[in-house]
């Protein structure tokens, strides 16, 4: 069997969705790939010095600038005349992408670099202890959006990052999920066949931060899609397509994770989360006809 380009022995938590998504991405991209990685769990658990789980050239940037460093790598390969034979992937967590790395990402998209940017969305700053980010979902209990008498968790909806990327006029934007692993492979393949900047955002359950059983990683990711809380959408040259679903009630997803435990016997609040899913379903036309 072919060797994986992301190997065993990394130190991610048992059942970490990000570790399996990162392997799917690099195995699909293949050995002719250079990876630039922001700081975050993925960087920490895959490169515990002096060990590395990567079998491709891999560069650690700062927390905020994988997109900028990858832009430099791309410019250098162009100068050497080898860009057309080498893939460049810039990758980061949701905090590193939606918050502190947004400026570098926007610059990369706007300048038109031929790079695939992958955001592993575990919906909080996990590596530093579960602080909320711009991609933390509505009502999630995190250490900086704790529940209390006057709080039901994170008061804000997820930042519409795929649309923000799309607004740069780039040729490919997609969301994906470890609940649909072959769909990740298909989207990475498609993205890398397109010249120019590409943005992919992959939903990756985090057993530690979401407080779920490790064996549920796959099932939980699938439920997020099936409830409409994490729509799988694709924009190719601005043209949208989406995975159709028979929507399940959001409670089926929420009850699998302790970060949403406070919502379960609260019909009022459940309605508000259901409204988030319903608006996604309508907005992206997700309902299977």
């Amino acid at each position: 069997m072919p060797e994986h380009l992301f190997t065993s022995g990394h130190t991610a938590c048992s059942g970490c969705g990000q570790s399996l998504a990162a392997r799917l991405v690099i195995d699909t991209a293949g050995p002719n790939t250079i990876v630039v990685n922001n700081t975050g769990c993925l960087e920490v658990f895959s490169t515990k010095y002096p060990e590395s789980a990567w079998q491709v050239p891999w560069v650690h940037s700062l927390f905020e600038n994988a997109a900028a460093v990858a832009s430099g790598v791309e410019a250098a390969l162009k100068y050497l005349g080898t860009k057309d034979t080498i893939n460049i992937i810039a990758q980061a967590g949701d905090g590193g992408t939606a918050d502190i790395g947004l400026q570098a990402l926007s610059g990369m998209l706007e300048r038109g670099h031929d790079i695939l940017y992958v955001c592993y969305d575990n919906e909080a700053y996990m590596n530093t202890g579960v602080q909320r980010s711009g991609l933390t979902p509505f009502d999630a209990n995190t250490t900086t959006s704790p529940i209390g008498n006057n709080s039901k968790g994170n008061p804000r909806p997820k930042k519409p990052l795929p649309e923000i990327a799309l607004a740069h006029g780039i040729p490919y934007v997609a969301t994906a999920s470890v609940g649909f692993p072959q769909d990740i492979q298909r989207k990475v393949k498609k993205a890398l066949s397109i010249k120019g900047p590409k943005y992919m955002q992959i939903h990756v359950p985090c057993p530690l931060g979401w407080r779920h059983e490790p064996q549920l990683t796959y099932a939980i990711a699938k439920l997020a899609v099936e409830t409409g809380l994490y729509p799988l959408v694709e924009f190719e040259n601005g043209v949208k397509s989406a995975r159709q679903i028979k929507p399940k009630p959001v409670e089926e997803y929420l009850k699998t994770q302790a970060r949403f435990k406070h919502l379960i016997n609260n019909p009022e609040e459940l309605k508000r989360v259901q409204a988030v899913a319903d608006s996604n379903i309508e907005r992206y036309n997700l309902k299977l006809q």
Partner: protein
């Protein structure tokens, strides 16, 4: 320390994470396997190998016992068993 720190590709394999397993480990029954590869695709530890039907197996030196291979198998041909069982 200044300058680039360079490591050997794939050297994480020195780190035998199988010792992390505490309660359960997967058992690959190799009876009803249809070689759909889903266990190999989903394993976060990249430690499952196999090709033909009923040949899939994991490397217990690295398996953390997360249970996602058993969860995804459409044939229920992988089951989680107690770590200390002799099977």
């Amino acid at each position: 320390m200044f300058g680039p720190l360079i490591c050997k590709p794939g050297s994480s394999k020195n780190n035998k994470t199988g010792s992390w397993r505490v309660e359960v480990k997967p058992k690959f029954l190799q009876k009803n396997c249809i070689a759909c590869k889903m266990c190999l695709v989903i394993c976060p530890e990249a430690c499952i190998t196999g090709n033909e039907k009923n040949t899939y197996i994991c490397d217990y030196q690295y398996c953390k016992g997360c249970g996602n291979c058993a969860a995804i198998c459409p044939k229920q041909d992988i089951v989680m068993i107690k770590e200390d069982s002799k099977e």
